[in-house]
């Protein structure tokens, strides 16, 4: 059975409708008007134990609302959730004991007391046995480099330090499930790296199920094998990261460096449908092509037939472009059928 199971889960909020100005405010006071705002449309999601899932989507897509329902903070409007067999909203405390959560924008630590004291409070709150607490604390201090700031209060920490402390705080009680809501937001590259390595290690060693929302594509590529994309409250893609890349990252780019100028080749390439030529100089150019129309060897052999290639390198489309396309509404993932449409279209043109 899946460790996280959401069925037909949805959430809508009542939102006050106020007309502008003082008159509007008075009117609202006397005759309050509300509209229902749907944050999450009925969605189904199941996550297996030990999986790492990236839950992505543009701002306001419903990511945080979903996470808040899964963690038991918000009551779902409809549908059911089971996390390790527990309904997180109805049995909030039981659920809280088995999850860890980091919300990047907001600390879970006590603002005014030293981090190490916060940890010791959490030890009592989560009933962590002394031996487990010691072992975890020592390990986390080492892995996250927390030595230098563990005796400071949360208010004195930099964002990167605070986030590391928060991550440690969320994992002290060895939760089988970890929710991360933008854990690397606003952090520098080295701290990001540290945090990613740490999460990876915890996932591998303890089989911790990780569900992560992020805008940082590095987080996704480094940590997650599965990608779930949500937009306007609905899941528009749910599958493996490599599949989304192979299915939708259609464009390939090859850079060439040639020994001598080949104006004829340039003309040919520029005139070929489905290829796009960008010339940096007489000796350097790149060709972008749809990999469902041409193979890389097609392109390379065309160039090599005409002249000597000094160097070439190929660039793969990152997940970044794919997700950006989804956010922009340019790509309907569920409707896009792999290549065939585009291919026949290309043939009819040719």
């Amino acid at each position: 059975m899946s460790i996280i199971e959401a069925k037909e889960l949805s959430k809508s909020f009542m939102q006050a409708v106020k007309e502008p100005g003082l008159a509007g405010a008075f009117k609202h006071l006397l005759f309050p008007k509300h509209i229902e705002k749907v944050a999450v449309k009925p969605l189904n999601l199941s996550v297996e134990a030990g999986e790492t899932v990236a839950y992505v989507g543009p701002n306001g897509a419903g990511k945080s609302t979903t996470i808040k329902m899964l963690t038991g903070i918000l009551a779902p409007s409809a549908g059911s959730i089971s996390v390790n067999g527990i309904n997180p909203y109805k049995k909030r405390m039981e659920n809280a004991a088995q999850i860890g959560a980091v919300f990047g924008q907001r600390t879970q630590l006590w603002w005014d007391i030293p981090i190490v004291e916060s940890f010791s409070l959490l030890k009592d709150i989560y009933h962590i046995p002394e031996a487990v607490y010691r072992r975890n604390l020592d390990q986390f201090i080492e892995l996250l480099g927390m030595d230098e700031f563990i005796h400071l209060s949360a208010r004195k920490l930099s964002l990167g330090q605070r986030m590391r402390a928060d991550l440690a705080a969320a994992l002290l009680h060895n939760p089988p499930i970890l929710y991360l809501d933008e854990p690397t937001i606003g952090l520098d590259v080295s701290v990001k790296q540290k945090i990613r390595e740490f999460i990876k290690k915890i996932n591998e060693e303890q089989q911790t199920t990780v569900m992560l929302t992020t805008h940082d594509l590095g987080d996704i590529e480094d940590l997650c094998k599965r990608l779930v994309i949500i937009d306007h409250g609905s899941i528009i893609y749910d599958g493996s990261l490599s599949e989304v890349k192979s299915r939708f990252a259609r464009n390939r780019l090859i850079f060439f460096q040639i020994a001598e100028p080949l104006p004829l080749l340039m003309e040919q390439l520029a005139a070929t449908p489905g290829m796009k030529l960008v010339q940096q100089s007489e000796l350097e150019f790149s060709v972008a092509f749809d990999r469902y129309e041409y193979t890389a060897s097609d392109v390379v052999s065309r160039v090599m037939r005409q002249g000597e290639v000094v160097d070439f390198r190929m660039e793969e489309t990152g997940i970044e472009q794919v997700i950006k396309a989804v956010y922009d509404g340019n790509l309907e993932l569920n409707h896009a059928e792999s290549g065939e449409v585009a291919q026949s279209h290309a043939h009819s043109q040719a």
Partner: protein, 265 residues
């Protein structure tokens, strides 16, 4: 969760909070003294009135000071140990309740420990002194049973006070702004119970004996302690009022919490 564990966690959270306050709030002496001063001024006001009129509606000076002091003694206890209820508007409106909902500890317990009103110490001390003086100077026939009942009435008084604070501040779940005008209004109605309720019209008497049972903090205990025969036996409703108010206010809090919507990032 067992009661023992709840007390333990409350103590742990409270002590940490206290450490933080002692470190950061250097002005707590001033807060404490100003609270004490306010109450002393109120006491002097009563003294001036009673200097002219020795008996108001059948109530003597030290009997009224007892009621007066009960109101701010309980206020002192409430702000010293349950000040967090007054932070509810902030917790709700800034989505800080999220953090509490993520921990396997009852939310209401965490709310209580959100802050400490150190000024409560001033109220507690002055209130304690005036109550002690009232009991010493008033006409009280002491028995062991009476002493035990007085302790019970003190406990129920604190419960009523804290329960009303919790219920009033739960308005934050419905009134979505960071101010706390509504709970403050509810809180200030306690001033009515600083005096014998017989001074007030029927409607007010009923209000502060039922929906907002402030009279069970001050007036009804006073009728028992000072042996007012026309009210004999009424004090027995104080524990009833305390239990009912505690359940009602926890119910309101839970219902409010079910409406909690967090905030966007």
């Amino acid at each position: 969760m067992s009661l023992g564990r709840m007390f333990y966690l409350y103590r742990r959270l409270y002590v940490q909070q206290l450490k933080a306050i002692l470190e950061y709030n250097k002005d707590f002496y001033i807060l404490m003294c100003s609270a004490a001063l306010t109450q002393v001024l109120g006491f002097i006001f009563l003294w001036v009135i009673y200097d002219r009129i020795p008996d108001i509606n059948g109530w003597q000076f030290w009997e009224v000071t007892f009621m007066y002091a009960m109101i701010f003694l309980t206020e002192g206890v409430a702000s010293l140990f349950f000040e967090g209820t007054w932070r509810m508007a902030r917790l709700v409106n800034f989505g800080e309740m999220d953090r509490y909902l993520l921990r396997p500890v009852p939310v209401v317990l965490q709310v209580f420990c959100t802050g400490i009103g150190i000024n409560g110490l001033g109220n507690l001390l002055i209130g304690g002194v005036i109550i002690w003086q009232s009991l010493a100077h008033g006409q009280v026939e002491w028995t062991a049973g009476k002493a035990a009942v007085i302790v019970l009435l003190l406990v129920t008084a604190v419960i009523i006070r804290v329960a009303i604070n919790l219920a009033g501040n739960s308005a934050a779940f419905w009134i979505r702004n960071a101010g706390n005008a509504f709970p403050l209004m509810v809180h200030n109605l306690a001033d009515l119970a600083k005096y014998p309720i017989t001074l007030f019209p029927q409607a007010i008497r009923i209000l502060i004996s039922t929906i907002l049972p402030y009279a069970f903090i001050s007036f009804f205990p006073a009728t028992y302690i000072f042996g007012k025969s026309e009210w004999s036996g009424w004090w027995m409703l104080a524990p009833v009022a305390a239990i009912a108010m505690a359940f009602a206010s926890y119910g309101i809090f839970r219902f409010g919490l079910s409406r909690y919507e967090s905030t966007g990032n």
